[in-house]
């Protein structure tokens, strides 16, 4: 009986507590470190129409398959008022594969056209309830979460995507329509918390 009660408790502790749709953007003044060594907060990265926060990594194969789409989405929407920021919260790997130096070379190699920052102590990921990379959060211009989840439904091949979850949500956001699909799920690499 004691074991069963313990397990009920474990269950509830283990339930993922991702930021709920409609929640305010947390930790907007948390100082993160850009690949040029300077600090950046979420407040600094906001766009006039909304803000896209991407939890990412240098090494996750799921990110590798998807990250060209980070760039094309930024190309399409930064001029339309969407601020974009990629956040590396893999704090237990900051001395190794996810170091600032490796982030810098990765961003250059992949032609990142948005800030790529290190999240000290993974504080932002914890506040968002982010668990994996890539993990996407889109906020409106009042900093309310309007979409959470995946970029689209096909990591492996951008040409075979059937549902463009994120692009659809951004289009709806900037044209003032309700977001038709507010959450989606995809497999990804676990964030390596400190």
């Amino acid at each position: 009986m004691k074991n069963i009660i313990t397990f009920i408790l474990l269950f509830s502790i283990n339930e993922a507590s991702e930021l709920a749709i409609g929640s305010l953007m947390p930790e907007t003044d948390h100082q993160m470190v850009k690949t040029n060594g300077k600090n950046l907060t979420l407040s600094d990265a906001k766009g006039d129409k909304g803000t896209l926060v991407i939890f990412s990594s240098n090494t996750c194969p799921w990110v590798i398959r998807w990250e060209d789409r980070y760039v094309s989405i930024t190309e399409s929407y930064s001029s339309k008022g969407i601020g974009v920021i990629a956040v590396n919260s893999n704090a237990s790997r900051f001395d190794d594969r996810e170091s600032l130096g490796k982030m810098k070379s990765h961003a250059r190699e992949k032609n990142y056209n948005f800030p790529y920052v290190q999240d000290p102590e993974a504080k932002l990921a914890m506040a968002f309830g982010a668990t994996k990379t890539p993990h996407i959060y889109l906020f409106d211009n009042k900093d309310r979460l309007v979409y959470r989840g995946a970029i689209d439904d096909n990591a492996r091949n951008a040409n075979s995507v059937e549902e463009h979850f994120l692009s659809n949500a951004i289009e709806e956001l900037i044209t003032g329509q309700p977001i038709s699909k507010t959450t989606s799920k995809a497999i990804g690499c676990s964030i390596k918390f400190p």
Partner: protein, 158 residues
């Protein structure tokens, strides 16, 4: 005659050790797990070659399956379908077989079909009770062996 036997042994080494890697949806996998109700507890582990924590905990999970006769360990790989050969090699090296599974549907339907609370982060583990078939525990990420052992102990008694 000796030559034929040697050729047979060679061919067997090439093919007989290969695990049968069955492409599966979440629904197909859950149906299979339900068939164990009343006979065995089940530990379902979703893993991928590219996932370091998955690969690190994998041999420990295999050993738990060997240790507990009333426990069926079911692995399903979430690797991309262009990695089937590497997945088979890994399973063979770890003594998994004769059957194992690889995801064959899109992420979202797979994740929701396995369990709605799963965010998609790997590894993901669920332990089902032997008699009731109910979920005893589930967790994302790498946890100590003690969590597996406690869950299995409860699953075998409930």
């Amino acid at each position: 005659m000796i030559r034929i036997i040697l050729i047979s042994i060679f061919l067997c080494v090439q093919s007989c050790t290969k695990v049968d890697l069955v492409p599966s949806t979440a629904d197909e996998l859950i149906s299979k797990i339900k068939q164990s109700k009343g006979e065995k507890a089940v530990l379902l582990n979703i893993w991928a070659l590219w996932c370091d924590p998955c690969v690190e905990e994998f041999p420990m999970i295999v050993d738990l399956g060997v240790e507990h006769h009333d426990l069926e360990v079911v692995f399903i790989s979430a690797d991309f379908d262009d990695q089937v050969g590497e997945v088979r090699d890994f399973l063979d090296r770890n003594g998994v077989g004769p059957v194992s599974y690889i995801k064959k549907e899109k992420d979202e339907s797979f994740i929701l079909g396995i369990h709605p609370s799963w965010t998609g982060s790997l590894p993901f583990t669920i332990v089902y009770a032997k008699n009731s078939g109910n979920i005893v525990d589930l967790w994302e990420g790498e946890y100590p062996e003690s969590r597996f052992r406690t869950a299995i102990e409860v699953a075998l008694k409930s």
